[in-house]
Symmetry: C2
Subunit: 341 residues, 2 copies
């Protein structure tokens, strides 16, 4: 195996687990150490060590003179009696290490909806950021389908190789067989609300993908009202955005609202208050419900990411792909709720 | 590294990710290739390759003549401005490959509650079933705390090394700092219900840990009523259980209820109906709400695993441990709901 690949142990382990799963109630013979060594490009002593551990854990039963067999009794009885599909979930390119609020919640809802299909879920972890290696790692998992969260550089390759794939994404660059929140529609809705509240000088933090996904919706709402937004107020970079905002407030620029797509919690409120405490009465904060400051005193317009619906629609596209229905390659945009505080 | 350890690539990757996370907004210098090679016992060319990939992905920025630095701009802005704790979740011994309904749901709820603490979650994956190696792998993750789901052979060792650990488990062997559903109380509750329905001949499938967690509750309810249960009806093994049940029905043994802790869906109903369709009128099915057959026609008593509350109490124990409160080592049993259909 390549030095940066998935560990040898996990390769053998996953292979045996897949054998058990697909065998259902019947023990299935496992290839010999020589065969496994060749198949996975792993040294014989390493395969031997992994097999010994799997045996001591009870996943494999050795039969003297015959060979090694999977032990169906070791998998959860809930998987018995049916051939459940094995569905992988890959976060980004499968190298995701730390899960924040966004990834924790989207993964949670996907897990719930996919095991209820019913299916068995495998969290895909690749051993490299190299596209070829990722594709190879994923194909080795013997999955029946894959959900890719916020990554699609390798999706079309996997589909060409016959794998069913659904992507869920935060961006507005939608590809077939994908589910995403409808940021554009929400931006339009929120823009209309800001117009109704007579707010015209609006600062947008972080005009960069995917953070700016809703900005075109805002632009459209204001353009339609004949009051196009000031493009100078669309700030570019996270760090400089906050400094620029600080300067704008300092120099007395009238700011009616700040659209914060960054989930930075109290920082925007603090910047506004530090220089001009009166802003709490006139300026609105627009942000994710997750990062809403506690009792900030500001007028707030929040959006909620519809994690549960995204996961439900993802499972639905999977079901359609399994049924061979073309609608499994639909592009589904999920409306987001606007909450005014 | 040991041949069966976590892959070299992931070791280096996680180390750098942790550096970024703990550095917050400030770039932090990364040890040299020589230092990393020594620290992790990974060959220089391998470290060099991993560093090159991390650089091309933007996680590391090289400064000519000075060294390599973490790039804070690469982590989600939502993690900025605060030092979020890094909390690991380990399923079993960290080798779990396939998630079924139980593991999918418990992991989902834990993810939701822990990212909301707020904290960053890391799904712990170990490279061996060897206890020493697991402990070593986990300590290398630089976690602030760990949640162990259904595994506790190494928990006390980790605690001795200073790691905060909470376990959530399905078994009734409760250790300090753990959360579990109260199977015993539910068995007692359900036993009372069966008594009320005048059911005495009750077959219990799979009298084996952890599947039998509720059986002592049943025994107690019937003992208190002066009508102890027939111990011959407590069947031992999954496979032989279903065959024994088939035989009992075939030979005309009066079966008033079958307690199925196996989540096997329609199999029990099918076995009962196959030999004596009249049983649908007299025999009750007791099982998990997950595995309830659709419109089976049988009288059903179900239990629901309180995944959400288990996760909430787990997060609560973590919070208490972080606050240095002794109550963080409490044993918390969560009541289960009984649903009668």
């Amino acid at each position: 195996m390549s030095a940066i690949g998935t560990s040898e142990y996990m390769k053998i382990r996953r292979y045996v687990m897949n054998l058990i799963l697909h065998a259902g109630k019947d023990p299935v013979q496992i290839p010999t150490i020589n065969d496994l060594s060749e198949k996975f490009g792993v040294s014989r002593p390493t395969v031997s060590k992994a097999m010994k551990e799997l045996t001591s854990e009870g996943y494999i039963i050795g039969r003297r003179g015959i060979g090694s067999f999977t032990n169906p009794a070791k998998i959860s009885p809930s998987s018995f009696g049916r051939q459940l599909p094995l569905i992988g979930i890959s976060l980004g390119n499968g190298l995701m290490v730390h899960l924040d609020k966004y990834y924790g919640n989207i993964l949670a809802e996907l897990l719930k909806k996919i095991v209820a299909m019913p299916a068995i879920v495998h969290l895909v972890s690749t051993g490299s950021s190299d596209k070829k290696q990722i594709i190879c790692d994923i194909m080795n998992e013997q999955l029946n389908a894959l959900v890719v969260v916020d990554g699609n550089s390798f999706v079309s390759d996997l589909r060409k190789m016959g794998l069913k794939v659904v992507t869920t994404t935060e961006t507005h660059r939608l590809t077939p067989g994908s589910v995403s929140p409808d940021y554009d529609a929400w931006g339009y809705l929120c823009g209309k609300q800001l117009l109704k509240e007579n707010r015209r000088n609006i600062v947008f933090l972080h005009d960069k993908e995917p953070w700016n996904a809703s900005y075109n919706g805002f632009r459209r709402a204001f353009r339609e009202a004949g009051a196009p937004l000031n493009e100078k107020f669309f700030l570019k970079d996270y760090r400089s955005s906050l400094t620029e905002l600080k300067n704008m407030v300092h120099y007395g620029v009238q700011v009616d609202a700040v659209v914060d797509t960054l989930w930075v919690n109290n920082e925007v409120a603090e910047i506004l208050m530090a220089d001009n405490p009166e802003l709490v009465k006139t300026c609105a904060l627009v942000h994710n419900a997750f990062s809403a400051p506690q009792n900030s005193g500001f007028h707030e317009i929040c959006y909620e990411i519809p994690f549960e619906q995204i996961a439900e629609e993802t499972a639905e596209l999977l079901r359609l792909q399994f049924a061979g229905d073309k609608a499994g390659m639909d592009i589904r945009k999920i409306p987001m709720k606007m909450i005014i505080k």
